[in-house]
Amino acid sequence: MIKTENLVFAYEDSADEVLSNINLNIEKGSFTAVLGHNGSGKSTLAKMFNAILLPSGGKAYVNGIDTSDEKRVFDIRRSAGMVFQNPDNQMVAAVVEDEVAFAPENLGVEPKEIRARVDECLKTVGMTKYAQSAPSKLSGGQKQRVAIASVLAMNPEILILDEPTAMLDPMGRKEVMRTVKRLNKEQGITVVLITHYMDEAAEADRVVVIDDGKIVTDGTPREVFSEVEKIKSLGLDVPQVTELAYKLRALGVNIPRDTITADEAFDALISVLGGEARD
């Protein structure tokens, strides 16, 4: 779906490369999390997948289209929809349903078809009830769900989310993550989630860790997070559960090092405790 070949990016007036030599291949229908701390280049990478920024060197392909092909920029943006961090700063319209209609209106879709898409997309993100509301009256999580719906209205194959939960409260984060996961599982939309929350990354199929513009680790959440020392040396954290497992292992408790969900930790701890009780 998305492919980069020796991708390099540097801002024009600067010699420092924000991204250097990125080779990445994102499969159709996958859920990839891109992790990295502030300034690692992860948001810049996201903008490469949508032709908002163009590579200074190398190539980026979205759906087989070269992103530097100016004539097809709208094809790229349509097939790779992007949701941004600040929910307030990406809303154009003063009414929720007009917001969702914005993208298909830009694409010149027939009014009837737009209506159908708007209703469908609002239903998908569970915001039908708020179709007539003003965005300013919604909570952060609701605003981000509207933002997702407004991108879905383009019928994209890929959904790129650039730290969509960074400005939300825990409830809002859960709402958004649940919506994104459902879109990936039920509608087969390829998801690229840029984040610095480890718990969110743990829910992906694949985690790509970026540091200083380079890919440093790439694998399943289990593989990536089991290397606790490496992740910490990059200035990142591991999910809380993995951290707990890591610390318990250091104390000699027999718990798998690739524990990434609370349920797994629970089972592992029960079996450890049960085992000791039997002794």
Partner: protein
């Protein structure tokens, strides 16, 4: 401080006036004002009053709210009346002696002051009826439709409409932000409430600077988000809610023309005017 800010003075309703095609409503409001300035005879004004009263009744908006709209204009009304009263030359009715000279009040001055005041009153009522029955978004749509014929003259009608919609959308966001900044500055000892006007104006600077910086940042992010959703200005954009003229609008035009006819007869044909 800025909670529940209302934009414009729209009062939701389901009257025929609310349902009219916004562009037509704007045109008819302008026509209403133009007609107003053609009238001179008291009888024509009486008929005009009846038509206006009927409109207000139809809109379902209370007279109180409409009169409220007049209040901020009161000083302009008084000022206009006085200027016309004192400055119009003509047949002197009586004069007020004032030291060396005297102020003459002319017959024409009284008539002119009265007509101007009545005209301005009707003008305010007509314009408020438009803004009271049309939401800002509908107004935007109306303005876009009206500017569309000027598109060949390079008038960016879609872009103007888009800018107005975005402005409407961002008023609550920026108001909230202003509130936050004021609170943050107050928490650090800023004083916005005491001192003379100059001092208070100066105190606004630490509010405006961060507000502007943030507005520019927002604009930048918004532009990126719009581009990401394939916005490229006007052109082949379609609309989900295409507003169209309906039977109601045709009826509105007919009623308006009929009223104009009645007014024309009263103004030009009937020979009962001022003596």
């Amino acid at each position: 401080m800025f909670k529940d800010i209302t934009i414009g003075q729209y009062i939701p309703g389901s009257s025929p006036l609310h349902k009219m095609y916004p562009a037509l409503k704007i045109i008819l409001t302008i026509a209403y004002i133009v007609v107003l300035f053609f009238l001179h005879k008291p009888l024509a004004y009486a008929a005009f009053f009846v038509f206006t009263a009927a409109l207000i009744l139809m809109s379902g908006i209370s007279v109180k709210i409409i009169l409220k709209g007049i209040r901020p204009m009161l000083w302009i009304l008084i000022f206009t009346a006085l200027i016309n009263l004192f400055m119009t030359q003509g047949e002197t009715v009586f004069s007020i002696p004032l030291w060396a000279f005297s102020i003459n009040i002319s017959r024409e001055g009284i008539v002119l002051a009265a007509t101007m005041t009545i005209r301005l009153l009707f003008l305010i009522v007509g314009a408020s009826l438009l803004t009271l029955t049309t939401s800002p978004l509908q107004l935007t749509d109306g303005i876009e439709k009206l500017l569309k014929p000027l598109r060949p003259l390079k008038v960016p009608s879609y872009e103007i409409a888009m800018m107005m919609t975005i402005a409407i959308r961002f008023i609550p966001t920026l108001a909230e932000e202003t509130d936050k900044i004021i609170k943050a500055q107050t928490a650090r000892g800023a004083d916005f409430e005491t001192g003379n006007i100059l001092r208070r104006a100066k105190a606004m600077v630490p509010i405006l600077v961060p507000l502007f910086v943030s507005a520019f940042r927002r604009a930048d992010e918004l532009a990126t988000a719009m581009e990401a959703r394939c916005y490229n200005g006007g052109g082949k954009r379609t609309r989900m809610k295409e507003t169209r003229m309906k039977k109601l609008d045709a009826a509105a035009i007919a009623v308006f023309l009929l009223c104009c006819g009645v007014l024309a007869v009263l103004e030009y044909a009937v020979k009962i005017g001022l003596p």
